[in-house]
């Protein structure tokens, strides 16, 4: 599948991680709706059934509670399940199981629950209100869970490997807009990206954009524009992990540029930008030359029609405008 130059897509990188981890560790198995013969709604698990058989690639009933709950039970017994949500929007059906059963298992009962819940997330694809969600804020609030949301193909691979090897439950959000749009050559060898570490996607000194997932690319585009049109040097921090969050990296970039713009695709109120803003306030208030600002989606269910979706979701031009304003502050 790799291009002649050795590049593979974000989606292929996830698949490669699944292949490698399933080969490496016989305890790893996948379960979800239509992940076997069909290879998953987006074909992420394509080829896994042929290679690993029905015992390790399990088509389930349409039962998100059972998928997550059964994964937890199997994980207690030492297996390492990787659950697919056909679209991450359906993780909401397993909200109780994840937040009450899975997240607390270690704390209240000293049970290990090494499992991954992954699925296609995010908008910009005309998916409408129920096939475009970004559920990170709903889970950020739950001690015991980990959350990652990669922006690049190599991070997708490396974080998937880390997630599968983690002793706790990791929610692995895959941005479907990026599935086939971003490509990269994978690093050699056993490429594992540690959970909890952000990545400086672009160095800069005038202001910092803190973001993750699809909007990392929009932030990078905006940074180019700002450099070209305004001569502004913009740093872009790709969080990659949302829980735990890399406070050190956040504080470092704020101390460097003294201006922070947080960008996410999710709706504004209660979105995770709030948490980031609060942390910057607590940890680096004295370094701030301007208020921490947010560029996010508007507070509405995500509509489907292109002009509406484009209007609701944050766009590169919004980031440019907001960054300019922040720089001028």
């Amino acid at each position: 599948m790799a291009e002649p130059n050795g590049e593979i897509t974000y989606l292929e990188a996830i698949r490669e991680a699944l292949f490698e981890e399933m080969e490496r560790d016989a305890n790893v198995f996948c379960l979800g709706e239509d992940i076997g013969a069909y290879g998953g709604a987006f074909k992420v698990t394509d080829g896994l059934l042929a290679k690993f058989g029905e015992q390790r690639v399990i088509d389930t009933p349409i039962s998100e509670i059972a998928i997550v709950g059964a994964a937890a039970g199997a994980a207690h017994m030492g297996l390492r399940p990787v659950c697919e949500m056909q679209f991450i929007d359906f993780i909401s059906c397993a909200y109780d199981m994840l937040t009450n059963y899975v997240a607390t298992a270690r704390y209240r009962a000293f049970l290990s629950t090494p499992m991954v819940v992954r699925g296609p997330s995010g908008g910009y694809v005309r998916g409408g209100p129920f096939h475009s969600q970004n559920p990170e804020a709903a889970f950020l609030h739950t001690p015991g869970l980990k959350i990652v949301y990669p922006a690049t193909a190599s991070d997708a691979k490396g974080l998937m490997k880390a997630a599968i090897r983690d002793e706790d439950c990791v929610l692995f959000f895959e941005h479907k807009y990026l599935y086939r749009r971003v490509k990269e050559r994978m690093p050699e060898g056993d490429h594992v990206v540690p959970i909890g570490k952000a990545r400086v996607a672009r160095e800069g000194k005038d202001l910092s954009i803190i973001t993750y997932a699809a909007t990392v690319w929009k932030a990078l585009e905006a940074a180019e524009t700002l450099e070209r049109e305004q001569g502004l040097s913009v740093e872009v921090l790709d969080l990659r992990s949302l829980l735990p969050m890399d406070d050190e990296a956040i504080v470092a970039t704020v101390k460097k540029t003294n201006r922070a713009l947080i960008v996410h695709e999710d709706t504004r109120t209660g979105g995770i930008a709030g948490e980031i803003s609060a942390r910057i306030n607590e940890l680096a208030f004295e370094w701030l030359d301007a208020p921490v600002l947010r560029v996010t989606a508007a507070d509405v269910p995500l509509p489907y029609s292109p002009p509406l979706e484009d209007y609701v979701l944050p766009q590169t031009a919004d980031i440019v405008l907001a960054a300019r304003r922040l720089a001028e502050y």
């Binding site: 998916g127 508007a298 489907y304 484009d310 919004d318």
Partner: protein, 382 residues
């Protein structure tokens, strides 16, 4: 019915005076010739409208996925026809029930507009495909999360009961979606409350790529009825008259205070989950067999021309009318405008009516228009 004499006028039906929920055939026997032709009209309209949507989809005029009910038209149309418009019955359709929505008054124009994400579509471009409706129209729009409409319809019909209204509700559920917790909680709640609700499991053999045997270990879905303490019936969902009959009797039971009925309609999904799905997981020959031997329109045509002695040209006239309606609807829909971007901010709450634009959108429209267009238009494959 199948055993009745072919050719010539159909023999007089046995004299049936009223619908008896417990007597199979007692509802079908009361159908008039006009009603039977109407059933044909709705089935034909369903099929042809979907064919038109396929054309539009191929022209990339449809935004998002396209979902077909090819081979399932009888089940949607026959069951919806069993509801009573005057009495204010309400149904909740699924993605394979465009036929049911048409019967209840959805217009081809609005369906095409909706698929094209137009600003004057029934949801003003907010929701996709056939996700629209409202109680006053006799059908309520579904959401994607499978199973959720069952509790909701339990509540709609609970309101009928609490208010002493003689109205009935009907909710469809796919074979796959019977595995959801929402289905279980909803049907159980309705059964305990004796809500006037008919629950139809459309067993079309697959949930996306998953065959029914991976969905349940039960021999048949109708076996679930006893576990909820409600009557259950199984019928041939590709026989529009049988579908009508079994549903109508359940509707009557509900209307008379007999509570929930579970119906399993046997049918087959001849196309993929959505247009992008190549059905590679389907055993060889299965689809053709259903197409050849068990197409609901073919079967009904045979019944009509045989038993009822309907003339070919009468049917051809219906087909022509359907085509005209669809052509007209397509023209109208194509001319519809896309939504105004800022309409996105209207109507999250009753109060405030409108969400404030975000601060970085002060120069709103210009900011958006300067944007790169998100790619992916029409490539969404969920």
């Amino acid at each position: 019915m199948a055993t009745r004499a072919r050719g010539g006028r159909a023999p007089a039906a046995p004299v049936v005076q009223a619908i008896d929920p417990e007597v199979p055939g007692s509802a079908a026997a009361l159908l008039t010739r006009e009603q039977k032709l109407e059933l044909y009209y709705w089935m034909r309209l369903t099929r042809s409208l979907e064919e038109r949507l396929v054309n539009l989809y191929r022209q990339t005029k449809v935004v998002g996925g396209l979902f077909r009910s090819l081979g399932q038209e009888a089940d949607a149309v026959g069951s919806a026809f069993a509801l009573d418009k005057q009495k204010g019955d309400i149904l909740s359709p699924l993605i394979r029930n465009m036929g049911a929505m048409l019967v209840r008054g959805a217009e081809p124009t609005e369906i095409i507009r909706q698929y094209m994400a137009k600003g004057d579509s029934p949801t003003r471009g907010r929701e996709l495909n056939i996700h629209f409706g409202g109680p006053e129209r006799g059908f309520i729009g579904q959401i994607s999360h499978l199973g959720d409409m069952v509790p909701v319809m339990a509540g709609v019909t609970l309101s009928f009961k609490l208010r002493g209204e003689e109205r009935v509700g009907l909710v469809y559920i796919g074979d796959g979606a019977t595995s959801t917790g929402a289905f279980h909680e909803g049907i159980n709640f309705a059964a305990v409350q004796r809500c006037p609700l008919v629950v139809i499991i459309e067993n079309n053999g697959y949930a996306y790529s998953t065959p029914t045997w991976k969905q349940t270990a039960a021999k048949q879905f109708v076996d679930k009825a006893t576990g909820y303490g409600i009557p259950g019936e199984r019928a041939d969902g590709n026989d529009v008259i049988a579908t009508y009959d079994v549903t109508k009797r359940a509707v009557e039971r509900a209307r008379r205070g007999g509570g929930v009925t579970l119906i399993e309609l046997m049918t087959y999904r001849r196309k993929g989950h959505a247009e992008h799905d190549n059905q590679s997981y389907v055993p060889d020959g299965e689809i053709t067999r259903w197409e050849k031997e068990n197409d609901p329109l073919d079967r009904y045509l045979r019944q009509l021309t045989g038993e009822l002695a309907v003339k070919r040209d009468e049917l051809a006239a219906i087909d022509a009318r359907v085509q005209e309606e669809i052509d007209a609807a397509t023209d109208t829909a194509e001319q519809s405008p896309m939504p105004e971007p800022t309409d996105a901010l209207v109507g999250v709450y009753d109060e405030p009516k409108t969400v404030e634009p975000l601060w970085f959108r002060s120069g709103v429209k210009s900011a958006v228009e300067k944007n790169e267009r998100a790619a992916g238009w029409g490539t969404f494959d969920g």
